[in-house]
């Protein structure tokens, strides 16, 4: 049974990665058609760097991702702290609202935001309301739950007396946060921020409904592209992005490993009755 599971898992992973392989291979293909191999070349990578269209789009995506994930991290961390101090009833309501963007189909989120912006546009007499601002707002909105759901468990794992101890020793609540609490929840903050960044970078559906012609992100443009034949430069871009994200994941992985080791050590010392040592 165990071998079946292992073999099956390997097959599934291959299945998951087939497209990556196909696209990576295609990025080195001298021909345009993915299905027809015309020889190995770095040409597409070269063309990519000389390209004046794709890279600015990538930059747009990165800008939105960075700003929205930072904003979501700050707002979301504050929210997580506030939620902890809420009455159980308030907390339940808040968590229900937090879960809405996550359980709602993306298309509904996108459509609802589009209608909101259209409505606001009418009210404020703005034409062509969709643009950078609407895109940013949308991204922050769907990033927030990820940050909150990432930070809250860390807050829960933290010794609840740490804040009291800091205040007991002379810190105001604000000082207590920056000197003590933030260190404890930092892994949650970072993983929340990274998750938000990644979700933002790749977002298509929601962005598709709230973007404006003045500021387009890469995924949206790729969708518009794919109504015409696809440029091979995109495969090169994809492969590069793949490498970058792989790197980021490895980083996150190492961070988690360090965090887990520290937790395990701490729990081991707290959890049991001690032998009369020193």
């Amino acid at each position: 049974m165990k071998t079946f599971n292992r073999v099956f898992t390997v097959i599934v992973f291959i299945f998951l990665y087939i497209p990556m392989i196909v696209l990576a291979v295609a990025s080195f293909n001298a021909g345009r058609d993915i299905a027809v191999w015309k020889g190995f070349t770095f040409g597409q990578y070269g063309a990519l760097f000389r390209d004046g269209v794709l890279l600015p789009l990538l930059l747009n995506s990165v800008i939105i991702a960075v700003i929205s994930s930072l904003a979501a991290t700050v707002l979301g961390t504050m929210a997580a702290l506030g939620i902890r101090a809420m009455s159980p009833r308030m907390r339940r309501v808040t968590m229900a609202v937090t879960n809405i963007p996550m359980t709602n189909p993306e298309i509904v989120t996108g459509v609802s935001l589009a209608l909101l912006f259209a409505f606001l546009g009418q009210v404020m007499k703005i034409n062509n309301v969709m643009g950078f601002a609407t895109l940013l707002i949308a991204h922050i909105t769907f990033n927030l739950p990820y940050v909150i759901l990432s930070v809250m468990p860390k807050l829960g794992q933290m010794d609840p007396n740490l804040r009291d101890a800091a205040m007991d020793l002379g810190c105001t609540p604000l000082q207590a946060f920056f000197k003590v609490i933030i260190h404890e929840i930092m892994p949650g903050i970072i993983s929340g921020a990274l998750m938000a960044f990644t979700m933002s970078l790749d977002d298509f559906v929601i962005s598709y409904f709230v973007y404006g012609p003045g500021f387009v992100t890469l995924p949206v443009e790729i969708y518009n592209y794919t109504k015409k034949p696809l440029q091979p430069k995109i495969y090169a871009l994809f492969t590069l992005l793949f490498m970058v994200i792989l790197l980021m994941m490895v980083l996150m992985n190492l961070l988690q490993a360090k965090d887990e080791k520290r937790l395990r050590r701490a729990r081991g010392v707290f959890g049991e009755k001690e032998e009369a040592k020193t």
Partner: protein, 269 residues
């Protein structure tokens, strides 16, 4: 300064950008696109879309079930390996989710097309090309492919949190490995199953891209219709009505499934 008030900016944000928009959707759904008056007409037209709703539901259910069947053994295996390997596998599962879902789907198109990689290979063997795309099966494949990680992760989370001692207790009381799985592991993993099914079902039932690229004209899904109402036909009222029904459908399914779990929030992140 009360700690509670730290969450206030967030609450205001969510109110304006999550709750209010949904209210606007409801408002549009009940409003006539031309006159702006209150109308049930948009909802009445839902009847004509019934086959599409059914098809979306059906394909989403099939995809969810396949994801469960495929994902469970994988999650089980990963949960049984050493912690460092677990992190590695977890990363491998998450990685595709972070990559452009459009491009990955397009890669499948180029694999499955009549002039695609697989069929080129088949033709080179002298055989007839297979109709691997432009049908329901391809759409299901696309859904399973894209949403499989969303099934694996909650399952994995639940499985690693399971207390080994429970398994030992079952063995101690005389259960064979199969019985241990059926009577202890499987029932205790139900919250993860529900979570995974939800996380696959919701995007599957509402997708429009996968059906556009890998389906035929017979596989127009509800997501396609909504998209076209907003981008092509520009009838936001009808689109809103469709969205409303879609949301209701999703909420209903999620509520039904939650009856089977004890209400625990499985942190899947």
């Amino acid at each position: 300064m009360k700690s509670r008030s730290l969450a206030t900016p967030y609450l205001i944000w969510m109110l304006i950008f999550t709750v209010v928009p949904l209210g606007i959707v409801v408002w549009f759904a009940f409003t006539d696109s031309v006159t702006g008056a209150f109308t049930l007409g948009n909802l009445a037209r839902m009847g004509t879309y019934l086959p599409i709703f059914v098809k979306s539901l059906w394909l989403a259910v099939i995809s969810s079930v396949i994801c469960l069947a495929v994902g469970y053994p994988v999650a089980y295996y990963i949960a049984g390996t050493s912690p460092s390997r677990q992190r590695f596998f977890y990363m491998l599962v998450m990685l595709p989710m972070c990559m452009s879902f459009l491009l990955r789907t397009l890669a499948w198109v180029s694999l499955l097309e009549d002039t695609g990689i697989i069929n080129n290979f088949i033709r080179s063997l002298g055989l007839q090309p297979l109709p691997l795309i432009r049908n329901d099966g391809a759409v299901v494949l696309g859904m399973v492919y894209n949403y499989l990680p969303y099934m694996i992760m909650p399952l994995y989370t639940v499985l690693i949190k399971m207390d080994d001692k429970l398994i030992e207790a079952a063995e101690d009381l005389g259960c064979t490995p199969t019985q241990v799985f059926a009577r202890v592991t499987l029932p205790l993993s139900v919250p993860g199953i529900i979570s995974g099914l939800t996380m696959v079902f919701v995007p599957a039932v509402s997708t429009f891209y996968i059906s556009q690229k890998m389906g035929s004209s017979g596989t127009t899904l509800i997501g396609d219709v909504i998209e076209s109402q907003f981008k092509a036909a520009y009838n936001p009222n009808l689109g809103a009505a469709l969205s409303l029904v879609l949301m209701a459908m999703v909420l209903l399914c999620v509520a039904v499934m939650n009856r089977f779990s004890d209400g625990e929030e499985v942190a899947t992140i």
